[in-house]
């Protein structure tokens, strides 16, 4: 019996972020961006 070919494509997503000293790192409070 022929095997059905899947039409779905694999998914892989990955981005990097350069640490720049402004990187956020908080716990249970999310600092929303209230710019002056």
């Amino acid at each position: 019996m022929a095997k059905d070919k899947c039409t779905k494509k694999p998914i892989s997503i990955r981005y990097t972020c350069k640490p720049n000293g402004n990187q956020v790192g908080l716990s249970h409070y999310l600092m929303a961006d209230a710019k002056k």
């Binding site: 095997k3 059905d4 899947c6 779905k8 494509k9 694999p10 998914i11 892989s12 997503i13 990955r14 981005y15 990097t16 972020c17 350069k18 640490p19 720049n20 000293g21 402004n22 990187q23 956020v24 790192g25 908080l26 716990s27 249970h28 409070y29 999310l30 600092m31 929303a32 961006d33 209230a34 710019k35 002056k36």
Partner: protein, 484 residues
């Protein structure tokens, strides 16, 4: 990504590269033949509850690919995935290494008073202190901010603005000191105030807005019947009505942050709460499962299965509302987990990574100047590194109290060290783990929930819902690593 190469089929080729010579070039390729053995790349297969996809995960680097279910074995044993992965492995590992071990402290949770005008059932601070504790006077608070500024100015790159969140207890019980601090140091720190809203009158709102301060408010339910179960005055009166009044005044302010503490008292109302927030125009909220750091919190922890069920229903509702109205309500703690999958270095919250952010990305200061790795540890004196007014911040960071938190990694823990989603969970929270187990060497008390949350996150990605559940512009400033 191309379809996988045909499976090589059963092979008994030797691992020493034999086969050259008589048969021409060897079929042997270490990147293919050694998957899940020796120095070859390791991939766990994770069921994510999606009809079409399973996840293949290299847990050490937090790399993953969602493979069509029927082709997963072909991807695993075919040549392309291991080869492509190995070509990028060093970059993936370095990316995770940076976010786990190389960030600089850049935020402080600052409790200007021990006192609180509410008696919430789950507070991480001891009840006696909240009822009758002391405040930090304005001069002392300014002295503390000066010390903190000196520390950050000597450690962070020029121009960086560390974050300082006045937290509690209820920081507005020390409003004069807090506002003097914001006025004097508003150009240096990015300030936030987490408040129960009882004292947040129009004058206070105008002041905080004028200084660009973040305003975090706490609301635990869509109705007073639900919200007031956990958030009440010492006399037992709920504050839902007051909180919603303030919420309505603040909607549209970009610095608004809403926090919900999820307990057994409100867990079933999470989908309705999402509808409530969305109807009010809220764009950003946290639905944080309560920590069991103090007995009150432990007694209010929701059943993990029930939490997962209603939390995911709430996220589904948020997605449906976005589809229907075009307006997002981002659930920040889940969005942060999604970032952990697609851009670990861009995380904004550091509870679901190990070591956690406590003592390395941020630290907490109590009203007496005591310093702990995180607010959750302020009620556990054995985790106070010392006192801000007596010790340098640099020295405090090196104390045993801090180091045992900043070196706690999932690689040391059972069952975490074998878990495929260990870097999407982080075995939180060390304070809660310590309070429950008497030591830090245990997995998350909510382990099943966090594993389920990771599977749900993969399912969200497989369904193409990633962008709808993340903040707009989440890719800004990021660089894509194309593996497959």
């Amino acid at each position: 990504m191309k379809s996988p190469a045909p499976s090589p089929g059963p092979s008994l080729q030797p691992l020493n590269g034999g086969g050259k010579g008589a048969g021409g070039e060897a079929d042997y390729n270490p990147s293919v033949n050694q998957v899940n053995a020796g120095y070859g790349p390791h991939f766990d297969v994770l069921e994510v509850g999606h009809p079409d996809y399973v996840a293949l995960i290299n847990a050490d680097t937090a790399f993953w690919v969602l493979s069509p279910r029927a082709e997963a074995l072909d991807y695993l044993l075919g040549g392309e995935l291991p080869k492509s992965y190995l070509a990028k492995e060093a970059k993936l590992a370095a990316d995770l290494e940076t976010v786990r071990f190389k960030l600089l402290p850049s935020a402080v949770y600052f409790n200007p008073t021990e006192r609180c005008n509410l008696d919430c059932g789950y507070c991480y601070l001891p009840r006696e202190a909240r009822r009758g504790g002391h405040d930090m006077d304005p001069a002392r608070l300014l002295e503390a901010l000066a010390k903190l500024k000196d520390f950050f100015a000597s450690t962070l790159p020029e121009g960086a603005r560390p974050q300082l969140v006045f937290h509690g207890s209820e920081p507005l019980l020390a409003k004069a000191a807090v506002f003097q601090g914001i006025e004097k140091y508003g150009d240096y720190f990015r300030f936030g105030v987490q408040t129960n809203t009882v004292l947040l009158d129009k004058e206070a709102i105008d002041f905080l807005k004028a200084h660009g301060a973040g305003i975090g408010i706490s609301l635990d339910g869509p109705t007073p019947q639900v919200a007031d179960r956990t958030r009440r005055t010492w006399g037992g009166r709920g504050v839902f009505v007051q909180t919603v009044k303030v919420l309505e005044e603040l909607v549209g302010y970009p610095g608004l942050n809403i926090s919900t503490t999820v307990t057994k008292e409100n867990v079933r109302s999470l989908p309705e709460l999402v509808e409530f927030f969305h109807a009010k125009g809220v764009t950003n909220a946290l639905l944080n499962p309560v920590r069991g750091t103090q007995l009150g919190g432990r007694n209010l922890m929701a059943d993990q299965g029930e939490l997962a069920h209603f939390f995911f229903k709430a996220l589904d509702r948020s997605y449906e509302l976005c589809e229907k109205t075009g307006r997002k309500l981002v659930i920040g703690n889940f969005a942060n987990l999604l970032l952990g999958l697609v851009a670990p270095g861009a995380r904004r919250l550091m509870c679901d990574i190990s070591p956690c952010g406590g003592g390395r990305c941020f630290f907490a200061i109590g009203a007496g100047g005591e310093v702990a790795p995180c607010s959750e540890f302020l009620g556990l004196p054995e985790f106070h590194g010392g006192n801000l007014f007596e010790n340098s911040v640099k020295d405090l960071m090196g104390t045993r109290a801090f180091v045992q938190v900043t070196t706690r990694t999932v690689e040391q823990l059972e069952p975490c060290k074998h878990c495929a989603v260990r870097h999407f969970c982080g075995a939180p929270c060390p304070a809660e783990v310590y309070a429950i187990n008497g030591n830090l060497n245990a997995p998350a008390p909510m382990c099943e929930f966090y594993a389920a949350q990771a599977r749900y996150a993969f399912k969200v990605i497989a369904d193409g819902r990633l962008d709808a559940l993340l903040w707009d512009g989440w890719k800004d400033g990021l660089e894509e690593i194309v593996v497959m």
